[in-house]
Point group: C2
Chain length 198, copies 2
């Protein structure tokens, strides 16, 4: 589901690592992640799903990032910076994605979603999403990168939905450090956008 | 906040690892995680927060588990089993905790919560929570432990709120493999319950 930020994360990292892979399009919006065939591959019924060369499978986009980055410069060698990488990956899934990605999905990807979302529901998504953005803004006042001294999978994980936050009606005008960080991520050698396919 | 499953996770692991530590009681329900002093320590305003001996801080309970378990038998040495550990930790925070822990919090910990929760809201928490339990039940048909061949931080992370699921009105009668796994976890040498304090 290539317009999903969660699917974009491992695609971007595999491109940067030079790992060849094949995309299989599967869209949760048309029910194809709830078929018996797909559930046999991934019981959670979610994308992305990574199938390794030996057929073993791995779900959860941020688990893929940690797995693929092991032993590379995308996972910090310093133990505390690695711990901060974990911290930002869990922050992304618990405090960022459920608000920023969900607002984008409802307003931008769901036909008729903008017209039918309850105002109180949207207000809550925005309040929690802006709270997550404020935490990132504060961190980026201390460091150019989220987890440590250089670009890591923490930046990939948070970039995915932050760079599309406007599609969920988030305004980044008051977050100059986030905007500068988004530009830094996009300027990294080997960066590809969400539309890129192998 | 010792009745929080998220706070229980690192407490249990540190006990098993023999790491001495000091508890500082901080309760998100009385506003003490939103004070300027606490937000200076953890900008997300959440517990648990781990303060290392050198004063550096780490948030996110599952990040603490990965950090503390590194190099120990609680994080699998096999690369694929380690990846599965990551997978279960993200599953716990995205697909399990937001339903099972939240139902428990509303029904068991919030004064008047049982009387005021909207039936549709509780039905959604139960539907999503049972979906997570079904994924665990299926996995535990293949293996005694979630991530690999032995007890790991994946088991600690999922045990925390699963063993208290009844406090959120979840009935585990139809999940015999989960019940057997809960008993296995509790029978591990060095296991301590949520009431344990150092």
């Amino acid at each position: 589901m290539q317009d999903s930020g969660n699917c974009y994360k491992p695609r971007l990292l595999m491109h940067r690592l030079g790992i060849p892979f094949r995309l299989v399009d599967t869209d949760s919006r048309d029910g194809s992640t709830r078929t018996p065939e797909f559930l046999a591959l991934n019981p959670t019924g979610k994308v992305p799903l990574l199938v390794l060369p030996d057929g073993r499978r791995l779900s959860e986009s941020n688990a893929m990032l940690l797995h693929l980055a092991e032993g590379t410069r995308y996972l910090p060698a310093d133990r505390y910076e690695r711990a901060l990488t974990y911290q930002w990956l869990f922050f992304e899934q618990y405090s960022h994605e459920p608000y920023i990605a969900v607002a984008r999905s409802l307003l931008h990807l769901t036909p008729g979603g903008r017209e039918t979302i309850a105002p109180a529901r949207l207000a809550e998504l925005h309040e929690r999403g802006y709270r997550a953005l404020a935490v990132m803004e504060q961190r980026l006042a201390e460091s150019d990168w989220l987890a440590g001294g250089s670009y890591s999978v923490a930046d990939i994980a948070l970039y995915a939905y932050t760079h599309m936050a406007g599609e969920g009606d988030f305004d980044l005008a008051a977050y100059p450090r986030i905007r500068a960080w988004l530009a830094r991520v996009a300027a990294e050698p080997g960066h590809v956008g969400i539309d890129w396919r192998p």
